[in-house]
């Protein structure tokens, strides 16, 4: 008998496609959360495959803090146009203007936490009952306990101690009115798997992931980029450095790493040799020991 074995990337792909199709089948109105980061790009790529030759049967939703790197928005608009999908944008600025949230104060002010309110408002306004997210279990210790189909109550809250057990490939998406689900098709991908898969599939990425020269300064152990959204404090030295980003999020809390990796091959070598986790550059995770769990409980991505 021939050897019917799949490579690890083929197995991960087949699993993610299965989860994407389960989401389309079990929910009335799903949406795919698209940040312009590599994980959500990969997820959208898999969604195209899952429903081909039909179009992706749900919109892409971007929760926009307004504090983006401009490269992300350029990339987003081109990518969505190529995919032929609908784009829905939820603006954190709207939540601020309507008084739903109050902008943080101080030098480390970030809109990262405010996104949760905009996200939940966008979900409610559009009546989405499932939101696909690019979260992976290897990213962070609270995510290590996350399910593929993760229940959220009517306030959008996650109850990590009371999660539904998930066995075999049987996903329970049943819910009461007003509740919704977060679905994570990439749960079993690691950072390395994501890069290897992007390389194999030849998926174009925003230029931020590749090394480039940029003005940066050191704050709280992270190399932050000089943008309109952060104020450099006296004593903080701005330098030009050759850097790239391992994750892409809000410009106020996403740190760069010094790197000369300008190609996917070089990035993969760098990831293989890395001694810091990719979220080590994220100051939003460093606010407390359980910062991710705390935000996720409130309804964060």
């Amino acid at each position: 008998m021939p050897d019917y074995n799949l490579s690890h990337l083929d197995q991960l792909e087949a699993e993610a496609i299965y989860v994407l199709r389960e989401t389309a089948a079990q929910f009335r109105k799903p949406a795919l959360l698209f940040s312009g980061g590599k994980d959500s790009i990969l997820m959208a790529h898999l969604a195209r495959k899952a429903f081909w030759p039909a179009k992706v049967p749900f919109p892409l939703v971007h929760i926009d803090t307004g504090h983006n790197f401009p490269e992300t928005i350029t990339y987003r608009d081109e990518y969505v146009a190529n995919l032929g999908a609908e784009l829905v944008v939820g603006l954190v600025q709207d939540s601020i203007d309507s008084g739903r949230v109050v902008e943080e104060k101080g030098i480390n002010a970030s809109r990262n936490k405010l996104q949760t309110v905009t996200l939940l408002d966008t979900i409610e306004a559009n009546q989405y009952d499932a939101c696909l997210g690019g979260g992976r279990r290897d990213e962070e210790k609270a995510r290590a306990k996350e399910r593929f189909f993760s229940h959220r109550d009517e306030f959008g809250q996650w109850d990590p101690k009371n999660q539904r057990p998930e066995l075999w490939n049987l996903f329970n998406g049943r819910k009461h009115e007003g509740e919704h689900f977060r679905v994570f098709p990439l749960s079993n991908f690691t950072e390395m798997d994501v890069w290897l898969y992007i390389q194999r599939e030849g998926i174009p990425l925003p230029s931020l992931y590749f090394s480039h020269e940029r003005e940066v300064f050191l704050r709280g152990g992270s190399l932050l980029a000089v943008t309109d959204f952060v104020t450099v404090q006296p004593g903080e030295a701005v330098e030009k450095k050759v850097v790239r980003f391992r994750t892409i999020g809000d410009a106020t809390c996403t740190g760069a790493v010094e790197s000369a990796a300008g190609t996917l091959d070089a990035i993969i070598d760098e990831v293989a040799a890395a001694r810091q986790t990719e979220r080590g550059t994220r100051s939003d995770d460093k606010r407390s020991e359980t910062a991710m769990e705390d935000r996720k409980r409130e309804g964060y991505f």
Partner: protein
């Protein structure tokens, strides 16, 4: 490179966290910032050494109480393989977590403390691994350093274990390895302290154990997940059935039957976004077109005409109960099986298994949380199924409470 999914069973006292920590640390899967965060947390908690359990016990409540609540998934890779660890707590009240972790595992590591030998907990973990049909079991006899690396102690434990395992049905491949997780003996590298042991180190075994036989490649099964109708000019008449192959091999031209309707036709093409395939097998996700137009929807199953599964409303199954609310005698639940959802009524509890003695307890009318028993169920529509022994995908189901929507039970069809 392929994937090995394994589960680890044992309590904190058996050195399970230490073992996982060592596998991750020695394969360079613990990062400096994670190590620094763990060191800081350990110091704050007053632990004498760095507490590797803090790596997997990520939830606030777990860190406060020093317990593991749930299944945590950890990842590492060597140049040979990617590994997914389902790390589950070993205490008796967490049977349901071990069942969950075991449901997707190819291999189980069962930790035995060399000073204590085979105890009730070892038997319980082995019974669950066997029930969930994990093909490979590694009995890791840990803390060999505390018994002077004594070959006689190890041999006695292995004999005890094999005597017990002969009472189990399914365990196919049992490998025993003497280790010291704390000192790293036989974990990644062969130990110099036990020259009498001729076998592989634990990691070498994990890297090389054969997992190709995990899926059934004999009985062709394709549960339809989603119907793809592009309705575009280019794909005007395209009607494809999307799903993940649950068993066997399908090729264009194969004679197939669609269940439950029983119509027969042929496979026309097997589509992926990259193009057509000449054959497809488990666990690939593909889209099939058929030679004739038949009314097919989600929950139907495409099978080879000469090799059909059972189609019945009466099911006998081993069920593990998950909910704090005990099973209602003659209760009605929602049953989810492959891509199909239906109602099921519990007709009878044939017996409950005492998982410490493996004895059957008869005359029971209900199951409580963490109980495992054999049930007779009747479903509202026929289930298109195989026995769990034959196919893990078409032989498994979950039970959902219709009021709370919680997953309350997991079943393996006999």
């Amino acid at each position: 490179m392929d994937i090995l999914r394994f589960t680890t069973a044992g309590s904190v006292d058996d050195g399970k966290s230490t073992l996982i920590g060592r596998l991750l640390y020695d394969s360079k899967s613990i990062f400096e910032d994670q190590m620094a965060a763990m060191e800081e947390s350990s110091k704050r908690r007053g632990d004498a050494v760095v507490n590797l359990a803090l790596l997997t016990d990520g939830l606030k409540a777990e860190r406060e109480q020093g317990i593991t609540i749930d299944v945590a998934y950890r990842y590492f890779a060597t140049p040979k393989r990617k590994f997914i660890i389902a790390d589950t707590p070993g205490h008796i009240q967490y049977t349901r977590n071990m069942v969950t972790g075991a449901s997707t595992a190819n291999l189980a590591i069962i930790l035995v403390d060399a000073r204590k030998g085979v105890i009730e907990q070892t038997k319980r973990h082995s019974f669950i691994a066997d029930l969930l049909r994990i093909q490979h079991v590694v009995v890791a006899v840990n803390k060999m350093d505390l018994v002077g690396y004594d070959e006689a102690v190890y041999n006695r434990i292995v004999e005890d274990y094999k005597a017990f395992a002969s009472r189990l049905d399914n365990l196919i491949d049992i490998t025993a390895i003497p280790i010291s997780a704390l000192n790293g003996d036989n974990v990644v590298d062969k130990s110099n302290a036990m020259p009498w042991y001729q076998g592989p180190s634990l990691l070498y075994h994990l890297e090389t154990v054969y997992v190709g036989g995990e899926h059934n490649h004999v009985d062709a099964r394709f549960p339809v997940q989603w119907v793809i109708r592009p309705l575009s000019n280019e794909w005007h008449d395209f009607r494809g059935y999307a799903g993940r192959v649950a068993g066997g091999v399908f090729k264009p031209g194969d004679d197939v039957t669609v269940l439950p309707s029983g119509f027969t036709t042929k496979v026309r093409e097997i589509h992926t976004a990259e193009g057509l395939l000449e054959e497809t097998f488990a666990p690939q996700s593909v889209t099939m077109t058929l030679a004739t137009e038949i009314d097919i929807s989600r929950g139907d199953m495409i099978v080879k005409a000469n090799n059909p599964p059972a189609v019945t409303q009466e099911i006998e199954a081993m069920v593990c109960w998950f909910s704090q609310t005990p099973m209602a005698a003659r209760g009605k639940y929602i049953l989810r099986h492959t891509t199909r959802e239906t109602q099921a009524v519990i007709r009878d509890v044939r017996y409950m298994v005492d998982i410490n003695t493996l004895h059957k307890v008869e005359g029971v009318s209900s199951l409580a949380m963490n109980d495992i028993g054999r049930l007779a169920l009747r479903t509202a529509v026929p289930l298109i199924h195989d026995s769990y022994r034959r196919n893990r995908i078409t032989g498994s189901f979950i039970l959902i409470h219709p009021g709370t929507n919680e997953t309350v039970g997991a079943g393996m069809i006999l």
